[in-house]
Symmetry: C2
Subunit: 611 residues, 2 copies
């Protein structure tokens, strides 16, 4: 946990920001976690919220007023926000229980609040404006374009890192499954059919997917950062630092893709005067719509055209996902076999165990890095939903406690994300703990075994995974599942299995996580996560009913055993137990083939049938 | 089914409407089912859609263009809409699969479309306007107020019935549970806290609830129609035809309630110039917001302030609901016992059976009418989700078929709504039919036995009742549950258990139906419906988990056996079977006490334990 606030740095930063706000006659300002791409993982240069507050989670919004500074996070980060920030400076709040705009409208009705138009979406800004606040963009002196130093934090942050300039490379067709030209033609035709001349793309995942390129600008998401304009005829203008574009990449992009530096974006938008341009109101910084409108273009508010096609993986990507999960499973199973011996020895710590898992992964062919910061959490740390062990928080893993490991990898074939919770032993776990583990497992299985009619949305399915927990008076304060990209972001929209997810119908080819949990603050956390692939039921056996609607189902992609000692089989329904035994047999037969000796023996024992 | 179209009346009406539209230079117009109160049940004078099209369902929207006329209904009415309208005149469409505004924007892009501002909400109108249509209010010549003859249908409909003028009476405190003055004081204070000076109330259920009055202007909902303005100080202006207000009612309303005829509404809104007035954008006709804005008032778009408090029944209303359901159960159980003998005799028809049930209900003390048109449906008619047997459609109930009876009653203590599906015999039902019935029952029980944390919304629970059906490749094209009023409308917002319901958290005191089903067009329909009361878990046994959140649960209010012959107990989980046996024991012990002789004997047999 951060100790920076103790040296007064955060207090000084907050005071500096307040002085600049007062000079601009602002009552306060918004400091979001997001960068210019509104993404979840951001480069160091965009870590303004962490620099100001100390909070390092992947989602948050600070509101700084003259006499109060409030940090809004969601349920995954409430404990972490409290631990990382100085309570003398910051008040932590829960953004889903109390929307920030409602809080601000009550705390400072009608106040003049500054914001950076490159760091907030039009939808988010509109919520503040319709709460009656006077929202004032920074750099009101003119359109300064992306990267200009108009944000007061950028003035104060003198040792701010430079933006990343990692090389951008082709993503071969053997992994992508569809030529960029074909993707651009079909998305361009859809724009034309909607009467749109072009679309702004500001999400690097969209651009990297559409162009079949990948980069290394971010630690966990293999993208090259940039912006793009997709035209209805399939041409595309890419705005990306030239240093990143290798000659082979320029050749790969082909003649229908023109390349310019991000500083050319202003002029490119101005040239769209008179045109109808799609801008995603929720996923793109409001600066784009403002600039287009000022240029005389008509803004068409509609989702990023890449979002849905990117989420529906094609046959090549689906095969790649299966291959990636199987390869990754060998590392995780090796780790679990090692942990079964070493975990409770008292010699390992959260950080050393995490390093061991990473070492197993580094030995895998094609391993291209972790897909997110692995959560290696012993005992009470497991209750911090997005806990990240650091030098300050690391502790030995002890005998007879719960250990949670949530990790994932990037391979050119696909992205993985898996969570297992184990018991270090040697004593038997308390029956109540095992009962709670089994309820989480029952929730996981309830979703994994679901068949549902086409048209069903993710939010409608969230409660199915919670029911076994609800039956015991338990719940978890996060969504049940998120979309996962294909060698892209481990968190990908638009679909998700959460009450807060968009109500978009699930479609064949989508990959979603299934990760119910239970958290007892101060004691332990349980989370069990596999990735699921949405498929038509025809591929899994014919629908046997006359509903008239096609049905969809899930194929479980992830392959790793669930901790045998924490399962109380008598609490599972016969159908759930049958699924578990069949799944464990599949793990044994597939992952087991890559193992030998004690690792294989451990897997045989761990996956032996219950029934 | 309607045969009117055969005599050419509907063709002539449509032609007349088109002629009037052409004269006003309109490409088309909207003809909604709703009346000036945007309610579900409307007086004969407001049955414009039925007059024009022949469709008599309780929800629908016609769009009339010069060369096409389209009727949008939801899944409950697709079969009925097709049966009641002339296919040479009308195209039926599914409003949830294809939003009407999207269809219209594609069929007639940018067209001038007329609408009656007293018959459409601001939200609904905005959807058409943002689809790029030019929406033109009827009576553009001036603000003509409610009831003025500005709608072209009102000009054509020369034998339109007069508006109802039934007496409006006090609803005693023994049923209402809270003085109107107290309700008005707390709702007025909430308006003041939101910075609002007044609120428009256009939903008669809100007004009747708030003033503790009831009327008989509608056939199934015991309300007096009217409008009201609630002020922040608790005073209220009621706009209601003076003929309806008996002297005792005027005395009951007290001095803080002023009464004026509906024609005084224009002036009353004009007098709010400079004030901030709440108008429900989804539940109130757009005429109110337009008139207020034109008067110089500020419109605050927020829900009807009565909606949520009315939905959360107080202790008196909860006790009344239990009493009403128990009393009503005696009639339904008598009917079911009679039907067990007579149903398959071939001597009864859908209409005669329905009349028999009504006769049993008429014998109940306090019976104040049906709460909706009872659905008495044999065989294939059961697949028409809101089927209404008529002289033209009535048919004998035969041996060995499925019969569905969905009915409800109004009592001063509360409103009932119950559906049972039975088998006429004497042969055993096919195993597949019984399997499907059992899946519907399993879905019903899954919801009835649920415990869930506070903050959970109705849409999140819908899939829990569908899962046993989905497992068999089955589904139903309607919501799982709707809110139910207290001696008010049998369909009451804001909560509902449906993917289309508002995402409002369920709260203690709400009454919701639980009615999954399965429909095989041309063959049969199955639906099983009880009413559920939301309660804190403390009242049903302490929560046994450390979630930290209070949990809610359901108390089943409705008391009637589920058809024994259609249940395959081996397909229910042990927990579901235990619930069923306990429920049947409760029915036997409560309703049975009011019965004797063969009726009692039948109930004993029908509710004998399975396990």
């Amino acid at each position: 946990m951060s100790t920076c606030s103790q040296d007064g740095a955060h207090a000084a930063r907050l005071a500096g920001l307040r002085a600049l706000l007062a000079r601009r006659n602002l009552a306060g300002c918004l400091v979001p976690r997001s960068d210019e791409h509104l993404g979840e993982y951001v480069p160091g240069a965009a870590e303004r919220l962490a620099w100001l507050s100390g909070f390092t989670g992947s989602a948050g919004l600070a509101i700084v007023l003259a006499d109060r500074a409030v940090l809004f996070t969601d349920g995954r980060y409430t404990l972490q926000a409290a631990a990382e920030t100085d309570p003398a400076l910051w008040e932590p709040r829960h953004s889903q229980e109390e929307p920030p705009e409602r809080w601000l409208a009550a705390a400072a009705p009608g106040a003049r609040i500054g914001y950076d138009p490159m760091l907030i979406s039009g939808s988010a800004l509109a919520r503040f404006a319709s709460a009656g606040l006077e929202m004032v963009p920074f750099a009101a002196a003119g359109n300064a374009g992306p990267g200009a130093e108009r944000n007061p934090i950028d003035l104060l942050w003198t040792d701010r890192p430079a933006p990343p300039l990692a090389p951008c490379r082709p993503h071969p067709l053997a992994f992508a499954g569809e030529e960029s030209e074909a993707k651009r033609a079909r998305l361009g035709a859809a724009l034309a059919a909607s009467g749109e001349d072009a679309a702004v793309l500001s999400d690097p995942a969209s651009i990297n997917w559409l162009l079949n390129i990948r980069g290394r600008d971010l630690e966990f998401t293999p993208v090259a950062l940039g912006f793009a304009l997709l035209f209805a005829d399939g041409r595309l203008s890419l705005f990306m630092a030239e240093e990143k574009l290798l000659p082979e990449t320029l050749a790969w992009l082909g003649p229908a893709v023109t390349v310019a530096p991000p500083s050319a974006l202003d002029d490119a938008l101005a040239a769209l005067s008179g045109r109808r341009v799609r801008v995603d109101p929720a996923g793109t910084a409001v600066w784009f719509a403002d600039t287009l409108t000022a240029s005389g273009a008509t803004v068409s508010a509609a989702p990023d055209p890449c979002r849905l096609p990117k989420a529906c993986k094609n046959e090549t990507e689906q095969a790649g996902a299966r291959a990636a999960q199987l390869r990754d499973a060998a590392a995780l199973v090796r780790f679990l076999a090692w942990f079964a011996e070493a975990g409770g020895s008292g010699k390992e710590t959260e950080c050393s165990a995490r390093a061991r898992l990473l070492a197993f992964r580094r030995a895998l062919s094609g391993f291209a890095g972790e897909s997110f910061p692995a959560i290696s959490a012993a005992g009470e740390h497991g209750a911090i939903i997005h806990y990240r062990a650091s030098a300050g928080s690391d502790r030995p893993i002890r005998a007879n406690e719960v250990y949670l490991i949530d990790s994932g990898a990037q391979f050119p074939e696909g992205t993985t994300d898996v969570t297992r919770t184990v018991w270090t032993g040697p004593a038997e776990p308390a029956p109540e703990l095992a009962e709670r583990f089994t309820r989480v497992l029952a929730g996981h299985i309830a979703l994994a075994t679901l068949r549902f009619p086409e048209g069903t949305t993710g939010p409608a399915l969230d409660a199915l995974a919670r029911r076994p927990l609800w039956d015991g008076g338990l719940d978890y304060d996060h969504g049940t599942g998120h979309g996962v990209g294909s060698f892209l972001s481990v968190h990908e929209g638009p679909a998700g299995i959460s009450r807060h997810a968009e109500a978009v119908p699930l479609e064949a080819g989508m990959i979603l996580s299934d990760e119910p949990g239970f958290y007892l603050p101060g004691a332990y956390g349980i989370r069990l996560e596999n990735l699921l692939l949405v498929l038509p039921t025809e591929k899994r056996g014919p629908a046997d009913g006359p509903s008239g609607k096609p049905f969809l189902c899930f194929e479980t992609l992830t392959l790793a055993p669930f901790a045998r000692r924490l399962i109380r089989p008598e609490l599972l329904s016969p159908a759930a137990l049958a699924w578990l035994d069949a799944y464990h047999a599949r793990v044994r037969n597939t992952v087991g083939a890559a193992l030998s000796g004690p690792e294989r023996a451990w897997l045989e024992t761990e996956t032996a049938p219950f029934a």
